[in-house]
């Protein structure tokens, strides 16, 4: 329990005293609101956009289309932003998306060692582990060991390509379509493409029930 009474703002309807960082954030917010640089509606809109509209379901849709449509896949590998726009996904002007394709003998994985760059227009905001020192420090140095912590063991004959996103180019992994998904609809396929598959710390898996069918 915090006993920090240094601030004199009235944070009404707050069940407990805010943490120091929360108090600082809310104090800055109120200054920016007073200066007309921000409204609380804008905060709500931005939060809601990341909570509901932008997330891994967008990337999954892109992957599923690439799996069923070879020509689309080529366009995606050639020009990421243009190809995702074809599916109605907006991509910020002037920025680049590069999709890297997993193959039988190459596995791709993305990291940002210097900060936490992430392909948010197609995957939403990154999970905490992606932004954490263990992932950032180790993925470039010992990718196979880190992947094992995600329960992904790669045989020695599969080369690991780590993409350290140091510029404003964003990378996304195009995983391999698993065996046993022949005849699946795009929607079914998108259902097995998780965020982790598109970061490269997992491979798409067929749920036990569909495999049994």
């Amino acid at each position: 329990m915090s006993h920090d009474h240094d601030h004199d703002h009235d944070h009404d309807h707050h069940p407990e005293a805010p943490s120091p960082v929360e108090a600082r954030a809310l104090a800055l917010e109120s200054l920016l609101v007073e200066k007309g640089l921000l409204t609380s509606e804008e905060v709500d809109r931005i939060v809601s956009m990341y909570e509901h509209d932008i997330g891994p379901m967008l990337g999954a849709k892109v992957v599923a289309r690439a799996w069923v449509d070879e020509a689309y896949k080529q366009r995606l590998l050639e020009d990421g932003p243009a190809a995702v726009k074809e599916l109605g996904i907006s991509y910020p002007a002037g920025t680049q998306l590069v999709v890297v394709e997993n193959k039988q003998d190459v596995h791709n994985v993305i990291v940002c060692t210097l900060c936490s760059c992430y392909p948010w227009p197609v995957l939403g905001l990154p999970p905490t582990w992606y932004k954490s020192p263990p992932y950032r420090s180790r993925m470039v140095r010992e990718p196979r060991t880190v992947l094992e912590e995600f329960n992904l063991t790669l045989p020695d004959e599969v080369a690991v390509n780590v993409w350290d996103s140091s510029s404003d180019v964003r990378y996304m992994v195009l995983p391999q379509r698993p065996q046993g998904t022949e005849g699946w609809t795009e929607e079914q396929l998108a259902g097995i493409v998780t965020r982790d598959c598109m970061i490269g710390v997992a491979r798409p898996r067929i749920p036990a029930e569909s495999a049994a069918r």
């Binding site: 601030h7 004199d8 805010p18 960082v21 600082r24 954030a25 809310l26 104090a27 800055l28 917010e29 200054l31 920016l32 007073e34 200066k35 007309g36 640089l37 921000l38 804008e42 905060v43 931005i46 939060v47 990341y50 909570e51 997330g55 002037g94 680049q96 590069v98 060692t113 210097l114 900060c115 936490s116 939403g124 905001l125 999970p127 905490t128 582990w129 932004k131 954490s132 020192p133 263990p134 950032r136 420090s137 180790r138 470039v140 140095r141 990718p143 196979r144 880190v146 912590e149 020695d156 080369a159 690991v160 390509n161 780590v162 993409w163 350290d164 140091s166 510029s167 404003d168 180019v169």
Partner: protein, 206 residues
């Protein structure tokens, strides 16, 4: 700068802690910080200045702070430095000055002829600038191969420090993991890093 933010290859941080079914925001204030950054980035500062403001945090604070705490620190630091807010306003909790006019980036991206082509062998320069750079420490003075050509983009080393006109081609440069880490790295493993032209010297054309 050779700060703690430049983490590639560092030891001692332990295993990756994976939170299952993590929410997008853990607390409302995180969303507030994100919104404040999005509404002020590109108007009062650029992304390179923002990244550098995060890096300028004292290293012990950087490591202790949660992600959005670092963002809050950077937004606050830059708004103070750019005169958008004042320390008195922060202390008193009330605005007494109007915000200055926001800047707009209207500079067109110039057409530049890239010096390197895919397949060219390059060596990264061995630089240790005090300021911002996007050439990670673990990849300095190393041999690699150009794989993709991007840009031009503004050089972060200049753009974070007031020179917004230094546009350069940028390249995806592939390094053998063993070139970076020695013989215990995977034989066929590779690390690809996006690097600006002035970080690179030509070794060999294919």
């Amino acid at each position: 700068m050779n700060g703690v933010h430049d983490m590639g290859g560092m030891h001692g941080f332990g295993p990756v802690d994976i939170e299952r079914d993590e929410p997008v925001f853990h607390h409302r204030w995180e969303g507030v910080v994100r919104a404040m950054m999005q509404r002020t980035n590109g108007r009062y500062y650029n992304l390179d200045e923002f990244r550098h403001a995060v890096e300028r945090m004292p290293s012990d604070e950087y490591l202790r702070a949660a992600y959005y705490e670092r963002w809050l620190h950077a937004v606050e630091t830059l708004l103070l430095e750019k005169g958008v807010i004042t320390t008195t306003e922060v202390t008193d909790g009330h605005a007494t000055h109007p915000a200055p006019e926001a800047t707009r980036d209207t500079e067109p991206r110039p057409a530049l002829e890239p010096r390197f082509q895919p397949g060219d062998r390059v060596r990264t320069r061995n630089i240790h600038p005090h300021g911002h750079t996007r050439l990670p420490r673990y990849a300095r003075g190393r041999h690699g191969v150009i794989r993709k050509v991007y840009g031009p983009f503004r050089l972060p080393d200049a753009n974070a420090h007031g020179d917004h006109h230094d546009w350069q081609p940028c390249y995806a440069v592939e390094f053998a993991a063993r070139e970076l880490w020695g013989d215990d790295a995977g034989r066929a493993d590779r690390v690809c890093i996006d690097l600006w032209e002035s970080y690179l010297e030509l070794e060999d054309k294919p």
